[in-house]
């Protein structure tokens, strides 16, 4: 693939009323194919993880109540385990599952991811809504301190939220 092959970009927004980090992205592929790539355990290792990660699907039971566990190994050799549970599956339109970065300090933060696929003219729009029980608290803290915030933290958080908008 050449770098110019695709001009698609993920657009991040936050919704303070639902505590969600929302990722929207178009793919130049029909919905059935996008669904297959995202849910077939054979295909998941082809894209899951950050650039340079190699992902192994350890467990993948796509039924309501079923669980999944993937391990991504970074270029530095460090393994990043992720896990979750399938809450809803409606191929090829919608899936709801929990997401957890299963390492100390992070595993208590389970987000609920709602994935929705819609097709238009042979292209597919992916809407990935990540609901954090706790993101609202962060957003609240940032929003309330933003006007006059002097602390380095608030600047960093503001910059971070700006990138999500």
């Amino acid at each position: 693939m050449t770098a110019a092959a695709s001009a698609n970009k993920t657009v991040f927004t936050t919704d303070a009323t639902t505590n969600e980090l929302i990722a929207e992205r178009w793919f130049d592929a029909p919905r059935d194919l996008v669904w297959a790539a995202m849910t077939d355990p054979e295909r998941i290792p082809h894209w899951w993880g950050r650039h340079g990660d190699v992902t192994t699907v350890v467990e993948h039971d796509p039924r309501v109540g079923g669980t999944w566990r993937y391990v991504s190994r970074g270029p530095d050799g460090i393994e990043h385990p992720f896990k979750g549970e399938f809450l809803e599956i409606d191929p090829p339109r919608r899936a709801v599952q929990t997401f957890c970065y299963d390492v100390d300090g992070f595993r208590d933060f389970v987000s609920v991811t709602t994935l929705e696929l819609t097709e238009e003219g042979g292209r597919t729009r992916l809407l990935d809504r990540n609901r954090f029980a706790t993101a609202e608290q962060l957003a609240g803290a940032v929003a309330s301190g933003m006007e006059k915030g002097q602390a380095e933290t608030y600047e960093r958080l503001e910059a971070e939220l700006a990138t999500m908008r």
Partner: protein, 117 residues
């Protein structure tokens, strides 16, 4: 009850009064009395909230017993920002890779037999 530092941060931020206190401290140091002023709340009530923020490491108090000024401690919030950034980057790069993968899947198959040479 107490788990990891990030959980403590989130728990401390879960209350609107405590978020308002942090927002006030983001503009500069303040005494407990000053912090209590905007709230219809007793000083002990505000002190209780401050204690939670202190335990989470979000607020520190002056040693000076006379003034007891409170200030915002940015480190725990930085951990939070780090985590969110990790998550956002993870999604972003995964979707980039998915895009590439979908494009590769849709490329016409390369002839694999000898005649292609």
């Amino acid at each position: 009850m107490q788990t990891d530092p990030l959980s403590a941060t989130f728990a401390a931020l879960a209350d609107p009064t405590r978020r308002a206190i942090l927002a006030r401290l983001a503009t500069g140091e303040a005494t407990v009395t000053e912090l209590a002023a905007p709230f219809s709340m007793s000083l002990p009530g505000v002190s209780k909230h401050l204690k939670v923020l202190e335990v989470a490491g979000l607020v520190s108090k002056d040693r000076d017993a006379q003034w007891r000024r409170c200030r915002l401690e940015p480190a725990p919030l930085r951990d939070l920002a780090t985590w969110l950034e990790f998550y956002r980057r993870f999604l972003d790069e995964s979707f980039d890779r998915l895009d590439d993968y979908l494009n590769a899947l849709q490329q016409p198959k390369e002839p694999t037999d000898d005649r292609s040479r």
